[in-house]
């Protein structure tokens, strides 16, 4: 009995000393800020920052390899907290939301084929899609599957709808879209030209009721001169100059340009 207590006690003591020595000798210096940053990050591991998860971003911020406002999901609040932890001035991050640049639903777009097969936009895109317009939304919802925040849903008309309240701007849907018609735009900007067709005007007109026909009425009407023609066939807004005046919305003959306020009113009425 006594010998058992002594032998166990001694071996415990020896191992304890060894462990204490090892802990001291092989100590890995970790940046305490990493843990702090992880605690303020949203923890959704969405990958919107370009790093594989929140922990990796925290490490990168602590090492100075990423900006303190790199987390698009957290927005300015998180950026401020991280800046505090890092002891730097907070750089204001403008929150962004996803915008789907296509209104080519069943009523508007000319549909030239039926599709039965893999429910994946990339698969259908490789076959050319079911609509005449080769820039249109293919409508199988790869963006909806990609969203971890439940912020984008397939509308009844077959075009995905972004929930601007829930959207964190992580950009996963934009990456999932094979046709690149989803883009991240500052949330304060309400007016958008919802078309990405580079087809010439007459072709677009044949393919879709609401496609940009490159008439340039919006370019001429814009008081801020911030609408320009891309490749000569598609009107785009340079959002830096846009003040949401909405004049272009009224000028567009094919109703390609929409304002989100107008949309909300329409939904309310």
């Amino acid at each position: 009995m006594v010998s058992a207590i002594i032998s166990l006690g001694l071996s415990g003591l020896v191992i304890g000393i060894l462990l204490a020595y090892a802990a001291h000798k092989f100590k890995v210096e970790t940046d305490p800020r990493v843990a702090e940053i992880i605690s303020v990050l949203p923890g959704a591991n969405c990958g919107g920052c370009g790093f594989p998860g929140c922990a990796a971003l925290a490490q990168a911020i602590a090492e100075g390899k990423a900006a303190t406002n790199a987390c698009v999901v957290g927005g300015s609040k998180v950026a401020e907290m991280i800046a505090k932890i890092m002891g730097v001035e907070s750089e204001a991050a403008e929150p962004v939301v996803a915008v789907v640049y296509c209104q080519g639903n069943c009523d508007n777009a000319v549909i030239s084929a039926e599709y039965e097969g893999l429910e994946d936009c990339h698969a259908l895109h490789a076959l050319g899609g079911t609509k005449k317009c080769s820039y249109s939304c293919v409508g199988l919802g790869s963006c909806v599957k990609a969203c971890v925040f439940d912020a984008i849903h397939m509308g009844e008309d077959g075009i995905p709808v972004v929930d601007r309240e829930k959207c964190t701007g992580c950009g996963a849907c934009a990456k999932a879209c094979p046709r690149g018609i989803i883009e991240m735009v500052p949330a304060s900007k309400k007016v958008h030209i919802l078309c990405r067709s580079y087809d010439k005007g007459p072709v677009t007109r044949k393919n879709c009721k609401v496609g940009c026909i490159a008439c340039q009425a919006c370019v001429r009407a814009c008081p801020q001169k911030t609408i320009f023609m891309d490749r000569g066939t598609l009107a785009k807004i340079d959002y830096k100059g846009c003040d949401n005046c909405g004049i272009c919305v009224t000028k567009c003959p094919v109703k390609t340009i929409k304002s989100y306020e107008e949309k909300a009113e329409a939904a309310a009425s």
Binding site: S112, A113, E116, G117, L118, D120, H122, A123, H125, A126, L127, G128, G129, T130, S134
Partner: protein, 447 residues
């Protein structure tokens, strides 16, 4: 006669050759417009030699091969270059640059075409290789791999056998069958030229046993030449896949990619390729036309056409009497490996062996059920892969895991989807993963 082995994997499929198998080859004529893609072969796209507005003649070179693996392109008829612009290329599944020719209807031959002759003894090996390269010859079986590359194996690889692929294991298609029946002499001549070009002594012509007339014709034509043999294979899909053919005929297994038939001392070419070479040697005319079966229950008069490369599919369907009833699906190639097109204005490519029209009632899809882990796809896979896991990874976006399962080795033969009792789109998922991995690799290579 060579006795064939069963080989691994594959399934027996109904061959449906009776639809167009009795129809002789007809000339399709000249359509109103020809679309010639600069990228319709495996490898780098060719580079245009003509400008918009130029007059071209039948057989004139209009695009030059670029890089080691590429093929040049020739005008199939005389006319004017209407445009050089991106058009939808159905096999690539994206827009790709094409030369569009508006034919003038005269079908005037290019003056520069020079026949080499029909005495093989008098033609040197280098001359054959040059003709193959200058004729823009590619494998006409479907993959359209430039033939000139095949004829120049690296010196450390000893090639002992040349296989001529006339298996045509895809259901419905009869292009190779009809060519063997009607032009056996030319095929044998072209095959011997290919063998000489590659410096191979022994040649085996491989045909499935569902084409007795073709076997008879080829045996007759090959009789005078002791170096040629005819191998008769039982009908099983995908017997005509390059690797499956080598295994069935020679009992040699091609190592997994990047292993090539060269590694087991074999070169394989399609009968259409041999025929095209024979035409090029005898008349000087490069590869500007090919045999296309227009078949399926959805066309009024299933036919075999000699069509100019670039002929719109809609034109051929029209020639075959148009649709019978409501068309359900138009497929370039066969039902197993072909690609469905949404627009019949797409043109015939060098690798298009058939246009298959299935009626609406035949393509009704049934609901996809969960995988029951029966393993039939694993048993049937001729590449000895695990389609069930590759597809599961592919569906859920685990591209790296799919790559570890060697998804890139998949030959997309479609057998796994065909045998699946739950009707899961296995091949389609795998193909999607393959294209995404390929796109990733291209992006990484650019960096």
């Amino acid at each position: 006669m060579v006795k064939a082995r069963r080989g691994s994997g594959g399934v027996p499929v109904p061959d449906k050759k009776e639809l167009s198998g009795r129809m002789p080859i007809e000339d399709a004529g000249i359509p109103a417009e020809l679309t010639l893609f600069l990228s319709q072969h495996t490898g780098a796209p060719s580079k245009p030699l003509v400008n918009v507005g130029d007059e071209v003649k039948r057989g004139q070179k209009i695009a030059e091969a670029q890089g080691a693996v590429s093929a040049c392109l020739h005008a199939p008829t005389s006319g004017k270059v209407k445009a050089i612009e991106p058009r939808y290329q159905p096999v690539l599944g994206r827009e790709s640059d094409a030369i569009v020719i508006a034919p003038d209807g005269e079908h005037a031959l290019y003056e520069g075409l020079a026949p080499v002759g029909d005495d093989l003894e008098a033609i040197s090996q280098d001359k054959i290789r040059e003709v193959v390269r200058e004729s823009g010859l590619v494998g006409l079986g479907g993959a359209a791999f430039p033939t000139a590359v095949k004829l120049q194996p690296p010196p450390d690889k000893k090639i002992d056998t040349y296989l001529l692929n006339g298996a045509e294991c895809e259901p419905y298609l009869t292009a190779d069958q009809k060519l063997m029946e009607e032009a056996a002499q030319d095929i044998v001549f072209g095959f011997r030229a290919l063998m000489k070009g590659a410096g191979v002594e022994k040649g085996i012509i491989c045909i499935e046993d569902n084409k007795p007339d073709a076997i008879r014709a080829m045996e007759e034509a090959a009789k005078p030449y002791p170096e040629l043999e005819v191998a008769v294979l039982s009908h099983r899909y995908p017997r005509g896949g390059e690797k499956q053919l080598i295994e069935a005929v020679l009992g040699r297994e091609v190592p997994p990619p990047p292993g090539l038939p060269l590694d087991v001392g074999v070169i394989v070419s399609n009968v259409g390729t041999a025929h095209a070479l024979a035409v090029a040697l005898k008349t000087g005319l490069p590869l500007v036309e090919r045999i296309v079966s227009v078949t399926g229950e959805g066309v009024a008069r299933p036919s075999n056409f000699r069509a100019l490369i670039g002929t719109p599919v809609s034109y051929l369907i029209e020639k075959a009497g148009g649709f019978s009833g409501k068309p359900g699906k138009v497929i370039l190639g066969g039902p197993m490996m072909g690609v469905a097109v949404k627009d019949t204005d797409v043109p015939v490519l060098k690798g298009t062996s058939g246009v298959l029209v299935l009626p609406a009632q035949a393509v009704k899809s049934e609901p996809v059920l969960p995988c029951v882990r029966c393993g039939r796809c694993v048993e049937a896979c001729p590449m000895r892969l695990l389609p069930v896991w590759m597809a599961a990874y592919a569906e859920n976006g685990y591209l790296e895991e799919a790559e570890k399962m060697r998804v890139m080795d998949c030959c997309e033969c479609g057998v796994c989807s065909y045998v699946c009792p739950s009707r899961r789109p296995l091949t389609q998922s795998i193909r999607l993963a393959k294209s995404q991995i390929a796109a990733k690799r291209r992006a990484a290579a650019k960096k």
